[in-house]
């Protein structure tokens, strides 16, 4: 197998020789490199990389950033002859998310896009049936992987859970351990903002 730094340089030369200008470049370790590009450059970058040998699409998904009001799409490609994982990321608008489909380049993306629509609400024009339900059935709320969906309140509303009697312990009828437990929880929640930056 070829040396891995040569492979990362090979990816860099492909991207430099094209008309695409990446906004960010990040080298994670010797076998992974990540680029962030604009939304309009997605098709050209993916076709270039596919013609150069990166013919396997490993993963397609999305990330939700509610404070910046954006959603981020991510594509991961791999080449078995020159082994480097290439991550392609691009940010799109959150209120009306829409990305043209990449089925003509990678036919394997059909079900990944359908799942991204179901969990995030992103539209993919070009994919024939991207708005049919795949994993959930009769879902009646907002797409569940967005950050403003609260699963525990949905679960309490729809699936009522078992109630236990309050005087549960025979050793401690005054429930003194319950007070100690609430004190401990309050202390722990104050620290929940983290142990500080490293």
């Amino acid at each position: 197998m070829t040396n891995s730094t040569n492979n990362i340089e090979a990816v860099d030369t492909i991207i430099e020789n094209s008309q695409v200008t990446p906004l960010l470049r990040d080298e994670i370790d010797q076998y992974q490199v990540a680029y962030e590009i604009q939304k309009g450059d997605i098709h050209t970058t993916l076709s270039l990389l596919k013609n150069a040998g990166w013919i396997q699409l490993s993963y397609l998904s999305a990330i939700d950033w509610p404070e910046e009001n954006k959603m981020e799409l991510i594509y991961i490609l791999f080449n078995w002859e020159q082994p480097v994982y290439v991550q392609i990321r691009s940010k799109i608008d959150r209120r009306k998310p829409e990305v043209p489909s990449i089925i003509q380049i990678f036919p394997g993306a059909k079900y990944y896009e359908r799942e991204a629509h179901e969990f995030f609400g992103i539209d993919f024009p070009g994919n024939p049936d991207f708005d049919k339900q795949l994993i959930l059935e009769n879902w009646d709320d907002i797409p569940p992987l967005r950050k403003d969906f609260d699963p525990s309140s949905y679960s309490k509303k729809k699936f009522p859970s078992r109630t236990y009697p309050d005087q549960f312990s025979k050793k401690d009828p005054d429930n003194k351990t319950r007070e100690k437990q609430t004190e401990r929880e309050k202390r722990a929640n104050k620290l929940r903002t983290g142990g500080g930056k490293r």
Binding site: E137, N138, P151, S152, S155, F159, P160, S161, R162
Partner: protein
């Protein structure tokens, strides 16, 4: 594809029928046949329990392919609403008397997925349960212990989940409609 039409009927109460039930229960509890339906993660401990490692056949139990001729419905693990619709459909197809055994701690109170938006929290509201086997992945030995408890229950006439389903039919149906929405399974998904 609708659920099977269900007609409520009264349980038998005459004297000679009771004697036939006693004889029937003796034969039933020594040769229970289990439906093969692996619903969740606890089903990975079923093949060691069924085959040569911890043999289930010494208790007289064996696997069965169709629900119309099976005795026990084994709910192994958690249930999502999608599986619960098909499970209720299967339970109503079994012929009586029928028993339900729940494996794992997920049917008891939700287990490790208790605040998940796609896992139900208490199986007792939708389908009557006879024996619970606790643990997060119980041992095959605990599973065989649970089956022996079920056999004792049949002997003492306490394993009567199927009678409860008759008596409280409206309560079970109302709970199912509240959590699942509708019970009809749409199969034209991909068209």
């Amino acid at each position: 594809m609708l659920s099977t039409k269900y007609t409520k009927k009264d349980v038998v109460k005459t004297k000679t029928d009771r004697k036939w039930w006693e004889i029937g229960d003796y034969f039933r509890r020594n040769s229970l046949w289990m439906l093969m339906y692996c619903t969740g993660c606890c089903a990975i401990e079923l093949p060691p329990a069924m085959t040569a490692a911890y043999d289930m056949e010494r208790l007289g139990m064996g696997p069965m392919a169709t629900p119309r001729q099976a005795d026990i419905l084994l709910v192994s693990g958690y249930l999502s609403p999608k599986t619960l619709r098909r499970l209720v459909y299967t339970y109503e197809q079994m012929s009586e008397p029928r028993y339900v055994v729940a494996l794992g701690s997920c049917p008891i109170n939700g287990g490790i997925y208790h605040d998940s938006h796609v896992v139900i929290n208490q199986l007792d509201q939708y389908v009557p349960v006879d024996v619970y086997v606790g643990g997060c992945m119980p041992n095959p030995e605990s599973l065989l212990n649970g089956f022996v408890d079920l056999m004792e229950g049949i002997k003492n006439k306490t394993a009567d989940g199927w009678k409860r389903y008759h008596e409280h039919y409206e309560w079970y149906k109302e709970n199912q409609k509240h959590s699942l929405g509708e019970l009809i399974i749409h199969d034209e998904f991909h068209e």
